[in-house]
Amino acid sequence: MKHAKTATQNACKLCNPLGACLAFRGIESCVPFLHGSQGCATYIRRYLISHYKEPIDIASSNFHEESAVFGGSHNLKIGLKNVSDQYKPQVIGVATTCLSETIGDDVPGILREYKKEFKNGTPMPILIHASTPSYQGSHIDGFHAAVRATVKTLAENGEEQSLINLFPNMVSPADLRYLKEIFNDFKAPLMLLPDYSQTMDGGPWGEYHRIPPGGTPASAIVSAGSASASIEFGSTLEASKSAAGYLEEAFDVPRYHLSLPIGIKESDKFFSLLETLTGRPRPEKYEDERRRLIDAYADGHKYVFEKKVILYGEEDLVVAITAFLSEIGMTPLLCASGGKSGLLKKRIMELIPDMDVLGIKVREGVDFADIEDEAKVLKPDFLIGNSKGYTMSRKNNIPLLRLGFPIHDRFGGQRMHHLGYRGTQELFDRIVNTVIEQRQNASSIGYTYM
């Protein structure tokens, strides 16, 4: 029975400040700082830790009733001072919350005052401010807002240098490492932002680290304004909200906008762009990766052809996975996201013009109750998305292929590849194995070769 639906039930999105905290963790010696209640920082820490399995210190201005009435300026300043004393960071990334946004705190003004008032104390960290009200958008918007704010605060004009900025979107630490490897192999200087490949997936500590090692140094971000180009992943990410958009506007750094490179076609676009920008052919190693992937497509094509799935997650990820599925003959019956950019359908249509004929449905701004209702009717072979789909997967007995963020019920989500030939290979292997396992389980024979 269909019910009227006002409330969000089992959300397929998170709040704006979470994305900002993650992005700030990708800056070297940076402490993320939430201007709001203590709970926001603590809940977000807990949520991120369950995926990344790393210590994640997020400071909070810890509002009380007085701050809500008289403004949070006092608490913010004390908080910044305490974080500076205790963590000795080079950067503090301040993100707002629904609370501080609603009372209308002028955070940039407070930060200016703070710098004046405390200039003679401990070394002054660089203060970045991102506006991330939780009543707007979702975590991915907070992520991009923080990246844009960082560039806006730090990037400077300068003589053009052979440097490429890469804004990779909210991808895994393993993906970030892969991207760095690619640039290294192309011998192309890279400014990757954010880079939480080490801070969110690092080694053991011989001694205590207030802030874990790794991340993009502030000095490197300064150079972003004089880079020769910016590459930005995320097909629904608009220039007006993005870091590369800002750099193009402010410093004429050309913005090359790509979908997340998943699948052969989109990965080819990325590698071709790198060839153009660097003037070098792609290293043989990636030709090999590509060849192995094509070979794997051939070996596995019969398992996956015309398999039907429901796909959900951040819009950019959904578009990218849709592109990949379409090149291996799988049909996403439903492409769903809790995000609401208004661009999801348009972008998928661009990739798959005959989507309506193929029966591909696109829905923005949905929750897991909506997706589950659809699943009951559409009866997909499996689900693809983050681990929050497990509840409906179990209830409706539909297998779930986990990817993206968060992975709370499996090990190693932070080490999962999604991007490029290597990431696509990993995804393809996992998809084929999902089908094989399903067949094997359903068979009464117990085949040992599948």
Partner: protein, 453 residues
């Protein structure tokens, strides 16, 4: 190695037990220092954890999406029947709602959810923003209650209006509205309520079974495996047995005042405290010596099998040092005793929400050199783990990576756990988990234990 310093504003909340040194009271019961990266959450969190296990009610979070998303299916609180508590409902307030108010959205959400899920009651949690935009939650709840015929209970849990403890109180306040509305004619004189037991990994079932073996009727468990009808009848019990004192003492006091039901404080962790919690209840019914006999019987049967099974762990763990940082201080007392019973000493003991009396008792219990902390943070915890050379940290999800980064064992003792640690069987599980983590050969590769970086 660089000395880790403590923030000036935090020094009064830290104490090291030393002989011959003046022993000031530890400062506690204060809101967290801004910028100190407290391990605490907020008022909303306090309310949410207390009411969460009530499984036949819907729990609706009125606010932007985060608060509901981060608490979706977050606890290991299991139910023997309905599982509405494992769903996440939010009014998901948007910018226009913030400007024009969220009352209508809340009203429609409630009417629809109640129609769809047919709960026995609904709890409506206010979040920060609701405290600012001035939605009249009470009025909406009254209206919906009238139209649907079920209790619709507002929980005043705006995140910034106090600490987690105020959230406990707000939750208990809602429970008080339910208590006293159910029939109690058939309740035995030899009956109790179990308060502050949340049925993590089925712990309430284990405890309940012990009491039932003693011939005690358990009227309601608040709130583990909770049911609205049971809560309504809770005023019919003769005695309230309170665990997790931080969250439920207020409710016990209110019930004492309103219904004349006395309460005792207990803990179900460790052999000593678990046994005591059975004896203390038995003592309350002196006209029935058979209850005490049965309690002794339960304890002796359980200990007979448990004690020998612990010796392997004790042998391996003797001399190892533990650090404890958990939510409530009462749990710390039990853990110190439980650790001692497997040969371990405690070098750091702390809690998010302990009060003055708790810390005074902790001081008394602890060995010399033990550090006691209130409302601590990752920097301090790391400092003392290193300085005191702990081999184990007991805490929750947020503390776990600190232990692992520093190359020491960890035991999850929070509300997400999936293994029961309460009761006699829980003591076995606890010892096993500590043993499996502390004695793992993986630590040989940790840089601090001689591994290479």
């Amino acid at each position: 190695m660089e000395q880790i310093t403590i923030l000036e504003g935090r020094q009064k909340q830290i104490f090291e037990k030393k002989k011959g040194v003046a022993q000031p009271d530890i400062a506690c019961d204060t809101s967290s220092l801004s910028g100190s990266v407290s391990q605490r959450a907020c008022v909303f969190c306090g309310s949410r954890v207390v009411l969460y296990p009530i499984a036949d009610a819907i729990h609706v979070v009125h606010g932007p999406i985060g608060c509901a998303a981060y608490t979706w299916d977050i606890r290991g609180a299991v139910s023997s029947g309905p599982e509405l508590h494992r769903l996440s409902f939010s009014t998901d307030l948007q910018e226009m709602d913030v400007i024009y108010g969220g009352e209508k959205k809340l009203y429609h959400s409630l009417i629809e959810l109640i129609e769809q899920y047919k709960p026995k009651a609904a709890f409506i949690y206010s979040t920060c923003i609701v405290g600012l935009i001035g939605d009249d939650i009470e009025a909406v709840c009254r209206k919906v209650a009238k139209e649907t015929g079920i209790p619709v209970l507002p929980v005043h849990s705006e995140g910034f209006k106090g600490t987690k403890k105020d959230g406990y109180k707000a939750a208990c306040h809602s429970l008080m509205k339910l208590i006293g509305t159910g029939p109690i004619d058939e309740i035995s004189k030899y009956s109790i309520n179990i308060l502050g037991e949340f049925n993590l990994a089925g712990e309430a079932w284990i405890i309940r079974q012990y009491y039932e073996k003693m011939g005690i009727e358990v009227v309601a468990t608040l709130t583990g495996d909770g049911r609205i009808d049971a809560v309504r009848r809770a005023h019919g019990a003769t005695l309230n047995v309170v665990q997790c004192s931080g969250s439920m003492t207020w409710l016990a006091k209110e019930m004492e005042e309103k219904y004349g039901i006395p309460y005792i404080r207990v803990s179900y962790f460790g052999i000593e405290d678990m046994s005591k919690s059975l004896y203390d209840v038995a003592k309350y019914f002196p006209d029935r010596p058979d209850i005490m006999d049965a309690a002794k019987q339960v304890v002796s049967e359980e200990v007979k099998t448990l004690y020998p099974s612990l010796q392997k762990f004790k042998k391996a763990l003797t001399g190892k040092k533990a650090a404890i940082y958990v939510g409530g201080a009462f749990k710390t007392f039990s853990l110190i005793k439980a650790l001692r019973s497997i040969g371990m000493s405690v070098v750091l003991a702390g809690s998010q929400t302990g009060n003055k009396d708790d810390y005074a008792r902790l001081k008394e219990m602890c060995d010399e050199g033990t550090v006691i902390v209130d409302d601590s943070n990752p920097v301090e915890l790391s400092k003392f783990i290193l300085e005191k050379e702990a081999d184990l940290l007991i805490g929750g999800v947020k503390e776990r990576p600190i232990a692992f980064k520093l190359g020491i064992g960890f035991c999850d003792h929070n509300h997400e756990r999936k293994i029961p640690l309460a009761g006699f069987v829980g003591m076995y599980n606890f010892a096993l988990e500590v043993y499996q983590s502390v004695m793992s050969p993986v630590w040989q590769f940790a840089p601090r234990k001689g591994g290479t970086l």
